[in-house]
């Protein structure tokens, strides 16, 4: 695949992914709360409704950072998706260190969510921003350990090699603790459910409490884009990405991405959120040792 078609595929994948993610989210929400069905066009209706309203700002906000936080979050999600191989040897960003690039994306997400909460100069948004940093930083450690454990058998930090190394056996079997830990990171990156410390209900919407109109639409789109990007990365790392019989690789990737998206959304509606101090302790005292064990086991398996 040459560059231009690859980029087009990427954008199409992302756009359709965002649309499906929005519908999935509504479906899960309604199923659990016991309400009726969802129209497949509902994401467009919601977007139009947002865009029909005025975009407000606050007193003396940091306008530039407000704008850059929303645009940047979307960009980071897209860059994350760009390192995912759509087929053998075809990733839009094909470099030897794509796992590190994804790590950089994760850390930039923390920065951008913080900026989004900082820029409106509003108390509730500010609390949300600071709280997110407390969880967003340490949760990255888990994902790094898990990704490194996935890189061991591939002998490479290239996501293309990691997918190729799963030809015989998917990483989810080689490294059973990996995917659950990685999904927690996904919840945190997409500001969802138990890890939604930025935009949560106890802050009336947290960092997005002041977002109206186009800003709100942009932020929601970016969150869903991040969900797509994350799910595609997770599908490539643990579920063999594009590998699969008969169907073309990209279809397999799409199916696996969809499954993981559904899992993340389901978890986000079904798991309770704990106060942030408790979560901080949980990550360092309980989840981090589990990540150590995961790495050790993966190392032993790779050597065996």
């Amino acid at each position: 695949m040459t560059f231009a078609p690859a980029l087009t595929t990427l954008i199409l994948f992302l756009a359709i992914g965002i649309w499906i993610a929005a519908i999935l989210d509504a479906v899960f929400y309604r199923r659990i709360s016991g309400q009726g069905g969802v129209s497949v066009l509902s994401p467009f209706y919601a977007a139009a409704a947002h865009l029909s309203r005025q975009r407000l700002t606050t007193e003396a906000p940091d306008r530039l950072n407000w704008y850059l936080a929303i645009a940047g979050y979307l960009a980071i999600a897209t860059i994350g998706l760009a390192v995912v191989p759509f087929g053998p040897e075809t990733a839009v960003i094909g470099i030897k260190t794509s796992v590190v690039l994804w790590g950089a994306c994760e850390s930039l997400v923390v920065v951008l969510v913080f900026l989004h909460g900082w820029s409106p100069n509003s108390p509730l948004a500010l609390i949300g921003a600071y709280r997110y940093v407390a969880i967003g930083l340490p949760i990255m450690l888990l994902s790094m350990f898990v990704l490194i454990a996935a890189a061991l058998p591939a002998r490479s930090l290239d996501l293309r090699d990691i997918v190729a190394s799963q030809e015989g056996l998917w990483n989810i079997i080689r490294q059973p603790l990996g995917l659950p830990l990685f999904l927690l990171l996904g919840l945190s990156l997409t500001l969802r459910g138990p890890f939604d410390y930025a935009d949560s209900a106890d802050l009336a919407g947290g960092t997005s409490v002041e977002d109206s109109g186009a800003n709100r639409a942009g932020w929601q789109v970016a969150r869903l884009a991040m969900l797509v990007g994350f799910s595609a990365i997770a599908a490539s790392t643990f579920l063999g990405g594009y590998l699969g019989p008969i169907l073309p690789g990209i279809v397999w990737l799409a199916i696996k991405t969809l499954i993981l998206m559904a899992v993340v959304i389901g978890l986000s509606h079904l798991l309770a959120r704990m106060p942030v101090a408790r979560m901080l302790g949980l990550i360092w005292k309980f989840l981090l040792p589990i990540a150590f064990v995961d790495l050790l086991l993966a190392g032993l398996v790779a050597l065996a």
Partner: protein, 117 residues
């Protein structure tokens, strides 16, 4: 090089998309935001002061430990690439490295840095 071009392209497209959203949302009063509209949300109350402040972060010691601990990633990435060919030696060396760093975390735990100070 392609990496950089792609990243720049994606950045540019995202900025354009966000700008597009802003232009697409046009109401008659879009550009005029009045003072009462700008008041930060406090459920109907009037804030007395700016929210921007010397914000009392409650987990600052954790972030310092985190920055030091995270440096280990820089060593772990190259280690992961050669792990299989170096074999048990690699496992032992990284095990030692991580054990050393874990002592720091255990010390921090003992001092209570993972609480809300």
């Amino acid at each position: 090089m392609t990496t950089l071009i792609t990243i720049f392209l994606v950045l540019g497209l995202s900025v354009l998309f966000t700008a597009g959203l802003r232009t697409a949302s046009g109401t008659d009063l879009a550009d005029h935001i009045t003072n009462p509209q700008q008041r930060p949300v406090l459920g109907g109350s009037d804030p007395k002061m700016h929210a921007w402040q010397r914000f009392h972060v409650r987990y600052y010691t954790m972030t310092l430990v985190f920055v030091a601990f995270e440096m280990e990633m820089m060593f772990m990435y190259p280690w992961a690439v050669v792990f299989v060919e170096e074999g048990p030696k690699a496992l032992a060396e990284m095990g030692m490295f991580l054990t050393i760093l874990s002592v720091g975390i255990l010390y921090g735990w003992r001092e209570g840095i993972f609480r809300w100070e």
